[in-house]
């Protein structure tokens, strides 16, 4: 048989096969209302993919586990005269939320002015303000940043596309971008002191942590345990702890009870009573974001007015010396206003407003 004949027979066979397939396809098309089986499965596949994506958009209930907080207005009050600036809140937050190197959901601003011995030092603890009128939430195109019960601004890592519009719009710099592999520094095999200390990697292996030796698995109760590349992250008032009727880590770990947390809708809560008593300030109030982190009992700000920048502190010495006296000394003061202030301070000291963590937990969780 010549090669040509062989080829033509092959072509013929192939042609028959093609005809068969065509016939089959047309039969399929008839049985499926004019479309082929392949097309039919393709459409089913595409439909399923779209349906899957659409389902995943609404899969989670943002308030799951937070039902008890419905109708509450959670706020934090930071008493600046109780705060010692120890930074315990920052460390507690970092360990609680498995934060990566360089990220702080609870942080602080420090400011020193003047020259020794006339020096002023200011310490302002900072965190996400969970603004009522949150610009980050407004800017988010996928509702990854959203409000949950208690008025807390929460972040859903699954919905986040990493556009970082929230960072741009947050006036407080409290939203952080997550680039690269989290905790990659803990993969280093370099020993701090060769032959004496272990390496970060060995510490990680010894503790069996997930990416970081101090890994806290409880963080997985809300969102991701370790946030991954490309998304943003921020403080959420420890929603995973609130779900379990626990105070946020920074509040719980504060050694001086400077952080007071509770429901502003409850007139008997510590936060309500403290805010009723002291005139608070909030960060950048002029922007209208209505932050839910309040500061009370501020020292004279080092930056607000030129005369308080330290240069004139010497002239102010008399006022500073006044602090040495107890407010009890002023209970007998002639000036009625001074007497009133002293009475209020004294009343506070006598425990009329209970700031203790136990009281806060009882007020919030019953």
């Amino acid at each position: 048989m010549s090669r040509f004949k062989k080829n033509s027979e092959e072509k013929q066979r192939n042609g028959d096969r093609i005809d068969e397939t065509k016939h089959q396809n047309s039969a399929d098309r008839e049985s499926n209302g004019g479309i082929s089986r392949r097309d039919f499965f393709k459409s089913i596949g595409a439909g399923a993919a779209v349906a899957g994506m659409a389902t995943s958009c609404t899969r989670t209930d943002p308030n799951e586990g937070l039902e008890d907080l419905e109708g509450t207005n959670l706020v934090m009050v930071i008493d600046l005269q109780r705060c010692t600036g120890c930074g315990g809140c920052d460390i507690a937050c970092k360990s609680e939320n498995n934060l990566r190197e360089g990220h702080f959901w609870s942080h602080h601003i420090t400011h020193t002015t003047g020259e020794f011995p006339n020096v002023r030092y200011e310490y302002l603890p900072t965190l996400c303000n969970h603004c009522e009128n949150a610009p980050c939430e407004k800017a988010c195109p996928t509702s990854a940043l959203h409000k949950v019960n208690g008025g807390v601004t929460a972040h859903d890592p699954i919905k986040c596309i990493g556009c970082r519009a929230c960072i741009i719009n947050c006036p407080y710099g409290e939203v952080h971008a997550h680039f690269g592999e989290p905790h990659s520094e803990w993969k280093s095999e370099d020993e701090l002191i060769e032959g004496v200390t272990g390496s970060p990697k060995s510490a990680l292996e010894d503790t069996g942590g997930n990416g970081v030796p101090y890994y806290n698995p409880e963080r997985e109760n809300f969102g991701e345990g370790n946030r991954y590349h490309g998304i943003v992250e921020k403080c959420d008032f420890c929603l995973h702890r609130l779900k379990e009727k626990k105070l946020p880590a920074c509040v719980k770990r504060c050694p001086t009870d400077a952080r007071i947390f509770g429901d502003l809708n409850d007139p008997n809560s510590s936060v309500s009573r403290v805010l009723a008593k002291y005139r608070p300030f909030r960060r950048m109030e002029h922007l209208g974001t209505q932050p839910k982190v309040f500061y009370v009992r501020s020292f004279n700000s080092a930056a607000d007015y030129p005369q308080t920048k330290g240069e004139l502190a010497e002239m102010d010495a008399e006022r500073i010396d006044d602090w040495k006296f107890s407010d009890i000394d002023y209970l007998e003061a002639e000036d009625p206003q001074t007497r009133n202030i002293a009475m209020l301070m004294n009343a506070d000291r006598q425990g009329k407003i209970d700031h203790s963590k136990k009281a806060q937990e009882e007020q919030l969780f019953g």
Binding site: C57, P141, I161, F179, V232
Partner: protein
């Protein structure tokens, strides 16, 4: 016979332009593809950080948006508003330029996303309270309009071309308004938080748009060498010059107001922009090559006797301005993020940002992609359009449409 020879010469030129654009585009894409790999596979986002979360890619995105809308609005204003019928034959080129720029804008911003493959969420679960969502959806609408417009040019449907041109105006204006508002609503960024920013963006769009119309006319309009062609080019040059002056007035007024008020949050940043480490980006590219040299060329060409020299000067002026206009959105976006006024400490805080190699590579890739799309458009739309319409050098508007 002469007419046929001119038409065939024109088609030959268009074929050459197609080949150049395609070759340059593919080369640029090959150079930049490593950057794309690093971003999309390895998640490398260059020098971007929490402090400076937007940089080169957002600037590039804004540049392309200004270009895509500005070119179309300028063209429509000149063609249908001022009634310059001779411009009809560059209609498809302008629409194609806009579409290529639109794709460039979207691809640039796609790389900027931390999780780019979740972009579908903005379509299936959008939050229309966010201006970003509006921007994405308006882009979708605008791209559909441009595709229909190009298709209408290809099949020679004058009625659809005209209708879609009118439809594109509100869409383009809305896109620019949202682009400007998106920045101006950010109370956290005093440099952007200005009521005028959307209007400034619209003026900027017209500045670059009139430059693009002039440049594309010089490069692609048939009838090169004729007096009519030269006359139109000179008129477009004057129109372009007027818009540059308008742009300078706007930028100068805003800078003056911000500096005069001496509010630290804006005045200190502006001072840093004009005199700081990266001030050369403004003085060399933005002001020097983007405004100064083009103005000089536009004024100088008025005294030229030779039409050829006039056209060279006009081409150089528009080319320089369009290329260096990239520095405008860069200088809007980056300094506002790299400098932050700290109210507690009463000082300006600076965060370092200079684009890394991966960011430049993506820029090269995007530029290449824009050229490739432009080249494909020349083959699919421009050549069939001109084949059907061009019979003589000074083609009439009716024939063109």
């Amino acid at each position: 016979m002469t007419e046929t020879a001119s038409a065939s010469k024109y088609m030959e030129r268009t074929t050459k332009q197609y080949k150049y654009a395609l070759t340059a585009g593919i080369l640029a894409m090959i150079i930049g593809v490593y950057g794309v790999f690093r971003v999309l596979v390895l998640g490398d986002l260059g020098a971007l950080s929490t402090e400076v979360p937007w940089g080169l890619w957002v600037g590039l995105y804004e540049y392309f948006v200004l270009l895509e809308v500005g070119a179309v609005l300028s063209f429509i204003l000149l063609r249908y508003g001022a009634g310059i019928k001779e411009l009809s034959n560059i209609g498809p080129i302008i629409m194609l330029t806009a579409l290529a720029a639109l794709v460039g804008a979207l691809v640039a911003i796609f790389h900027d996303l931390g999780q780019p493959f979740r972009i579908w969420r903005t379509f299936l679960a959008p939050d229309f309270g966010s201006l970003l969502t509006w921007m994405i959806w308006l882009h979708l609408g605008y791209s559909i309009i441009l595709v229909i417009e190009l298709w209408a040019y290809r099949i020679g449907r004058k009625d659809i071309v005209e209708k879609m041109a009118y439809v594109s105006v509100p869409f383009g204006m809305a896109l620019i308004a949202i682009l400007g508002s998106f920045l101006s609503v950010a109370a956290a960024r005093p440099l952007w938080n200005d009521l005028l920013l959307p209007v400034v963006y619209l003026i900027s769009a017209f500045v670059i748009g009139s430059g693009v119309v002039l440049l594309q006319y010089l490069m692609f309009a048939p009838g090169r060498g004729t007096t009519e062609y030269g006359m139109i080019a000179v008129r477009l040059g004057r129109w372009f010059f007027a818009w540059i002056l308008f742009g300078i007035f706007t930028a100068f007024t805003i800078s003056l107001v911000m500096t005069y008020a001496d509010v630290p949050a804006t005045a200190m940043i502006l001072k840093e922009m004009f005199t700081g480490e990266f001030a050369w980006t403004i003085w060399v590219f933005h002001v020097g090559l983007g405004i100064g040299v083009p103005i000089f060329l536009l004024l100088w060409q008025e005294h030229f006797e030779s039409l050829r020299n006039k056209l060279i000067a006009l081409g150089a002026a528009s080319g320089l301005m369009v290329a260096n206009f990239l520095m405008v959105p860069m200088n809007v976006v980056i300094p506002a993020l790299a400098f932050r006024y700290d109210h507690v400490r009463d000082m300006l805080v600076r965060f370092d940002y200079f684009p890394k190699m991966v960011e430049w590579l993506v820029l090269v890739f995007v530029a290449g992609l824009v050229l490739v799309i432009f080249a494909i458009g020349i083959k699919l739309v421009i050549k069939p359009f001109y084949k059907a319409t061009i019979q003589m050098p000074g083609i009439s508007a009716e024939q063109a449409e």
